[in-house]
């Protein structure tokens, strides 16, 4: 799982993305991840969090820059090479993105699709060790015995656990999580974040998490990256995330507890975009 000596596991260099609409989502982002840690990315809606994470496995095509995973540039890969690289990157989504009519087991096994031929996969003929790994992972994420349930019969928290199991089935070098808790209630959100944190240290796999909730980011991450208008404006440990820094990331706002200092009506638009 460790990168070749001297080579960081993930290195993003001068990454830019301009959408066909003209919107500049990323304007030169540099990030290096060299340890198995939980990296939270925070920032307002439209700051480029989702674009950044989707550029890493090229669900969004970057406009310029390099993304080096274990030293190889993902941006330069052809379709076949990209498929091979995607196998090494597990992704977890806000809306879980399970295939609802399929069973939990079918969803989890789909994490192995990159390693199984088309005909075998359409007949659900997966190698014995994959099936064993799937049962073990379901047990680990707390869904032992749910393998034959249909995905649409599960609760939000359970679905996200299936999503995590599916991503881990890939035995990834890197985990990408796009707002994994935004559709969950506060308690479930904390449980999911705790599970992710445990799995990151168990498997020594770094995770990049887009997250809206600053409190969750501070509580469960080793490092926080603040994005504003497509530029990294903060990159440090959660302890350094002060109210001044939050104002830099999100724009001016009173960061003390809500309900106090109510001198500004809530309907007035803040100066942030």
């Amino acid at each position: 799982m460790t990168a070749p000596s001297g080579m960081p596991l993930l290195r993003i260099e001068a990454l830019e993305k301009t959408y066909p609409t003209g919107k500049r989502a990323l304007a030169g982002v540099d990030v290096t991840i060299d340890r198995p840690q939980v990296v939270a990315i925070i920032g307002s809606s439209g700051a480029g969090k989702s674009t950044l994470i989707r550029c890493i496995n090229r669900l969004v095509e970057p406009t310029a820059g390099r993304i080096l995973l274990n030293g190889g540039d993902i941006v330069a890969l052809d379709r076949k090479g990209l498929r091979a690289a995607r196998r090494r990157i597990g992704m977890i989504f806000q809306e879980y993105n399970l295939v609802e009519r399929l069973t939990v087991m079918q969803n989890v096994l789909s994490g192995r699709l990159g390693y199984v031929g088309l005909i075998a996969s359409l007949r659900y003929r997966f190698p014995a060790e994959d099936i064993q790994a799937a049962f073990a992972l379901l047990d680990r994420v707390g869904l032992d015995g749910y393998h034959n349930q249909r995905a649409d019969a599960l609760s939000g928290g359970q679905r996200q656990r299936v999503g995590i199991a599916r991503a881990l089935m890939q035995r990834p070098d890197l985990l990408l999580l796009d707002e994994p808790t935004a559709s969950l209630d506060p308690k479930t959100a904390r449980q999911i974040m705790r599970l992710v944190r445990e799995l990151v240290s168990e498997r020594q796999t770094p995770a990049i998490i887009n997250i809206h909730d600053v409190a969750l980011a501070k509580a469960y991450s080793d490092r926080i990256i603040g994005l504003r208008d497509g530029i990294v404006v903060f990159d440090d440990g959660p302890a350094e995330l002060t109210d001044e820094v939050l104002s830099v990331i999100y724009g001016d706002e009173d960061w003390t507890l809500p309900g106090e200092g109510d001198d500004e009506p809530a309907t007035a638009l803040s100066s942030a975009s």
Binding site: L59, N97, V99, S110, L113, Q170
Partner: protein, 269 residues
């Protein structure tokens, strides 16, 4: 915030009108009325001709009763041919619809292929089954082969369009998730697209089988085989009692088909 209502706020509210203003609504309806008056006066609707047709209609109806089922062997073989045409053309059409539907789905297919497939569907849907049948009868001669090909082509286009639209409306998230695992295009289709569209497409397929049953009775009239050909022959020989027997049988078959279609689609849910 005090609870007393401010007099400055309006107390009435109506949803915005479809037409924008009363004046535009009046112009629209005036145009509709003017058009109806003009078209009725322009079509030369001749009351006398309609009146003269009524006794003829009574005569034909009188000769249709009682229906003559004595040539039931001919009736049965025609009906069986129609049913065979309907089933075979639905199967062939469904197989052809898969590549058409995938190619015509904007979210899966590359732009040039998408435009080609959509163009094919648009052109294909321009022509009614009967026109396609006339063309195929000219190509392959009278008989069920022309009928089968007609309905296979029109089914493929119809089912392909329905499939493409269903694929375009499916949830993008699972497709993105399967793609992110490093799956190939075929695996993305098998794991993310098929599970999302399968149930609805089976329903559409059963509906099309039912529709093909109805169409297969009609296209025979232009020589494409089946019971329609028998019906057309009986009309031109003024065998109205046999015609009525055929019509009753068709009605029974279509009703049966519709009942089956309803039942099967209800069970799919």
């Amino acid at each position: 915030m005090s609870a007393t209502a401010s007099p400055a706020y309006p107390t009435t509210w109506r949803p915005p009108s479809l037409f924008g203003s009363r004046r535009r609504r009046f112009i629209f309806w005036a145009a509709v009325v003017a058009y109806v008056i003009w078209s009725v006066s322009d079509l030369n609707i001749d009351g006398n001709r309609i009146l003269a047709g009524l006794p003829r209609a009574l005569d034909i109806f009188a000769r249709m009763v009682p229906p003559d089922f004595s040539r039931w062997e001919m009736l049965l073989s025609g009906m069986l041919e129609s049913i065979q045409i309907a089933i075979a053309s639905t199967i062939v059409g469904a197989l052809l619809a898969i590549p058409i539907g995938l190619a015509a789905a904007a979210n899966l297919s590359p732009r040039p292929l998408y435009l080609l497939a959509r163009g094919f569907i648009v052109v294909g849907r321009t022509f009614h089954e009967v026109i396609i049948a006339i063309f195929f009868v000219k190509l392959f001669g009278f008989g069920p082969v022309a009928g089968l090909l007609t309905l296979a082509v029109s089914s493929a286009i119809f089912l392909g369009k329905m499939l493409a639209e269903d694929i375009e409306n499916m949830k993008e998230g699972p497709v993105e998730a399967i793609r992110a695992t490093g799956a190939s295009f075929g695996q993305v289709v098998g794991y993310a697209v098929v599970p999302q569209v399968m149930v609805k497409q089976l329903g559409v397929l059963i509906y099309r089988l039912d529709a093909n049953l109805r169409h297969s009775t009609v296209i025979g009239i232009v020589g494409a085989g089946g019971i329609g050909q028998t019906l057309s022959a009986s009309f031109s020989r003024y065998d109205f009692d046999f015609s009525s027997a055929i019509l009753l049988t068709i009605a029974a078959l279509v009703a049966l088909g519709e009942w089956f279609s309803d039942w099967a689609r209800r069970r799919l849910r």
